[in-house]
């Protein structure tokens, strides 16, 4: 019990020191991660080769000159380039002369050390988890074949019955003939099929008449129904519209629904022009330059944008000679003799996109939801009230109407009341 210094085993000492060191370096790395995210992540990927605006930083310490070059570069890259530093000018040229922000005055040398510590250390597990979302977000694309058309069943039954009838008849005739021959009688006189049918029909007149009437009515009804489904891109019976497969499996659900991108971001001419417009690939690239994988098809469908734009996702460079226009298929079609103006309906009429196009936020494949027939247009013009209050387009008209008909009528100003049914409004 004398002179007993509590002896800490060497192993424990090492463990404690190591833990303290790890914690402190972890703290530093955490701090560095935060700083990296705030200041660098917009242009650099920390632990991969993936080029963003600037190069990926995997293995950066093996590439750059030794010593404090990288610290000086981060502080003021412009000074290095202007100063004629060979490596600085080399990477400046390699990256399309996109200059890096000067961080002098915003980041302290300590901050930069923390960031470099974060880049050096392996990526923490939580952050390294793949960013891919759950697959199979969308429903299946194709529709299952919905049973066989009853008409074809009936036709098939009729054909089978006819074949059966004909073969049975020939068997009967053959048997009859054999019997006759064995009885040494003449062969039976040939009775034609038609004569036999006529005989049978003569015996069942009432039945044949009723059947004929039913057949005629069914035929007329089906012709009448069929006339409704011709050429209008919309099936009234099933309430289903044109839903073509597009060159890229673009999902409105993911873009407008899950990610809440406004319709006007891509269809930006909807408020300025007659057409809502199909976005150019340049608008796709505004986001997909950075977002290179999707939740369902990974990079496959997004890769088609790059093909169309002549874009190389590895080097982030465009090659105009490799452009290949996308041939989107127009879903909503009006005949040539109809004039329709989007800006008029959206800006002046304040009509919501979904009123005519349905809830695209839930559609994986865009589908025509409204019949787009003249009856449909006119029905809507008859029942939709014009938004007069707080609408600069109608200020004068509304005031004049209110003065002229003060107290006389209790009128709803629907579109047809201000000329929405005139032929020349849409046909000219």
């Amino acid at each position: 019990m004398k002179n007993q210094i509590p002896r800490i085993p060497l192993k424990a000492l090492i463990a404690i020191v190591f833990t303290v060191f790890t914690i402190s370096s972890n703290l530093k790395a955490q701090d560095g991660a935060k700083l990296f995210k705030q200041n660098c992540a917009v242009c650099h990927s920390s632990h991969t080769d993936q080029k963003l605006t600037g190069p990926g930083l995997k293995g950066v310490f093996d590439r750059v000159p030794k010593g404090d070059w990288i610290n000086r570069w981060i502080l003021n890259s412009e000074k290095l380039i202007k100063g004629g530093d060979a490596y600085a000018n080399k990477i400046y040229g390699e990256n399309g002369k996109a200059a890096m922000t000067v961080f002098e005055g915003n980041l302290t040398p300590k901050d930069i050390d923390a960031i470099l510590g974060f880049i050096k250390a392996p990526l923490p597990v939580a952050a390294a988890a793949p960013a891919g979302g759950p697959a199979n977000l969308e429903g299946t694309q194709g529709e299952t074949a919905g049973g066989i058309e009853p008409l074809y069943v009936i036709l098939a039954v009729i054909v089978i019955m006819a074949v059966l009838l004909a073969s049975l008849r020939s068997v009967r005739t053959a048997l009859q003939n054999t019997v006759n021959r064995s009885d040494n009688q003449d062969e039976a006189m040939e009775v034609t099929f038609w004569q036999e049918v006529k005989n049978w029909m003569g015996g069942h007149r009432r039945f044949v008449g009723v059947m004929a009437i039913i057949l005629i009515f069914v035929g007329m009804k089906s012709c009448w129904d069929a006339c409704y489904t011709i050429g209008v891109y919309y099936d009234y019976k099933t309430q289903k519209g044109y839903k073509p497969e597009q060159p890229i499996k673009f999902s409105h659900k993911i873009h407008a629904g899950d990610n809440e991108i406004a319709c006007q971001y891509c269809h930006s001419s909807v408020e300025k022009s007659r057409h809502a417009g199909i976005p150019t690939v340049n608008i796709c690239m505004n986001c997909h330059k950075g977002i290179q994988t999707g939740p369902q098809y990974q990079g496959k469908e997004i890769g088609k944008i790059y093909e169309a734009a002549g874009f190389d996702p590895k080097t982030l460079a465009y090659d105009d000679s490799k452009q290949n226009p996308l041939k989107w298929i127009k879903v909503h079609n009006l005949p040539d003799h109809v004039y329709f103006n989007h800006s008029q309906h959206v800006v002046v009429g304040k009509i919501d996109c979904a009123t005519c196009h349905g809830n695209l936020k839930e559609m994986t494949v865009a589908e025509q939801k409204a019949p787009l027939t003249m009856k449909w247009c006119i029905d809507c013009h008859r029942k939709t009230e014009v938004v007069m209050e707080g609408n600069a387009y109608y200020d004068r008209l509304h005031k004049a109407l209110k003065e002229k008909y003060a107290g006389q009528y209790d009128v709803k100003f629907t579109v047809d009341k201000i000329g929405g049914l005139e032929c020349a409004k849409c046909h000219y």
Binding site: K37, Q38, N39, C40, A41, V42, C43, H44, S45, L52, T53, E78, K82, A98, A99, M100, T101, V102, G105, N106, E143, L151, L155, T192, W194, G219, S222, C223, D225, A226, T229, I230, G231, Y233, K240, Y242, K243, E245, N259, E260, I261, A262, Q264, Y265, S268, H275, T280, N282, I283, M285, N286, C287, K289, G290, I291, K327, K330, N333, P335, D336
Partner: protein
Amino acid sequence: MKKNYRTIKLSISAALAGLVMAGFTSCGKKDANSPGVEFMPDMYRSPSLEYYQVHTVDGDTINNAMLPVKGSVARGFIPYAYANTPEGYEQAGLNLHNPLSASDKEQWEKDGEVLYGKFCVHCHGATGAGDGKVGAKLPGPPPAYSGPLKNLPEGKIFHSITYGKNSMGSHAGQLTQEERWKLVYFVQKLQGPKTAGTDSTKVAAAPAATVTPSH
């Protein structure tokens, strides 16, 4: 003989009637990929040259989604004087100022907010913190207006919307210059009052030389 002839005639007409009926009923559209059949030419397939269509005229195939003729200028187009270079960016920051009168600032901010909700919010987030739903999916989220971009001058905001910056693409095709300036007012509102200090977004020394017009 005569009876046989009548039989043939009858059966042929019955077959024809059947065919016509089957034809009519099969017109009912079942394939979602097919636009359907027109009963008679209803001008759904336009004889005039329509946008985004491929047409054949005198044997030549014409794609109507084409770039405008080189050198053509859109009506109302205002040229933008600063080049898409680090120098142009710095020059814009120094010399470019909002032409919309500051006395109507509140109105511009209101208009800008509407535009921001359509064109910016999904990446930059409702408060401009860079926390939009799409921003979170980008490799690096956009920097916060009230953070690293707090002292970004108006000219640089406009320049960035026009040409794009880093991960952001050019929005000049979607927004007119006036709309971009309205957005600048709203972004400045999100930045909050400027702090004393230098612009933290410097990439190059701005040469005092004259502005070189481009575009």
